[in-house]
Symmetry: C2
Subunit: 156 residues, 2 copies
């Protein structure tokens, strides 16, 4: 248990690298068929007008980010989940073949009304490398995640 | 084309009923296995401590809501998509067997810098009926959706 990340282990400014993923047309279209069957996510011809070509559902990018957050951070921590997310921004169309990476920056933290827990607020960002210049931020959101403390607030 | 909902057809206070859905354990677990493999969404024993029993991933509720929004509203409109969502709140655990309903309330609307388009801001809410009393709001978020106008702003 002691090597799990607890509330006390987070501090503002930390950045967690949460891996990379290359999108396939199959996974984008599978998700869109189930959950977001709009032409811009399913029909290459219709998508040309709207987004310059077939693009992943914004909700699929969130789902993909969550998988990377769970594998890279939450499942090696005392995370107890989150009551929601804020300011989800889908900033650029993401296409099949794009290799994206995810990171999570700690913005701030605060106690909970329950002394054995606390909240850490992150900004999760999905980036797409560019051939030259800075990576593009294609998607981002903020999220306050509840973690267990090693020791109750106010103790020792 | 003329029976599609355009920007002009929305006004603050309208509420769109977007159907109902009864969650199955299979669909909840399939989603969690792919995108949110945390114990509270996969392991009934571990979930007892955290959420009083197995609960749907919050992101799965968003995905389900999006499907109902597309089927019930966007695909019978001139929707051009949304740049993001805000204030996603997962307010109550949602369980297998729960029958939820979704509605979308128009909060306000505004023009776009492009005269042939405009933004309509909605609050989408997922509700669970209770045996007695008011329905519980289990999930909600706001979203500004871009629609085509019937006629460009400032014309006629």
């Amino acid at each position: 248990m002691t090597d799990l990340l607890h509330f006390e282990d987070f501090r503002a400014g930390q950045i967690f690298a949460l891996g990379t993923h290359t999108l396939t047309p199959e996974e984008m279209i599978d998700y869109a068929r189930d959950f977001d069957p709009q032409p811009q996510h399913l029909d290459p011809e219709a998508a040309k007008d709207l987004l310059g070509g077939l693009a992943a559902s914004g909700w699929y990018l969130c789902a993909l980010a969550m998988r990377m957050m769970v594998d890279g951070l939450f499942n090696r921590s005392t995370s107890l989940g989150a009551p929601g997310v804020d300011e989800v921004q889908w900033r650029r169309p993401v296409r099949a073949g794009d290799k994206v990476r995810l990171d999570g920056e700690v913005l701030d933290k605060r106690g909970s009304s329950r002394p054995e827990r606390g909240f850490v607020r992150f900004r999760f960002s999905m980036w797409r490398p560019k051939e030259t210049g800075e990576d593009e931020r294609v998607m981002m959101f903020t999220c306050s995640v509840m973690f267990r403390r090693r020791a109750p607030a106010g103790s020792a």
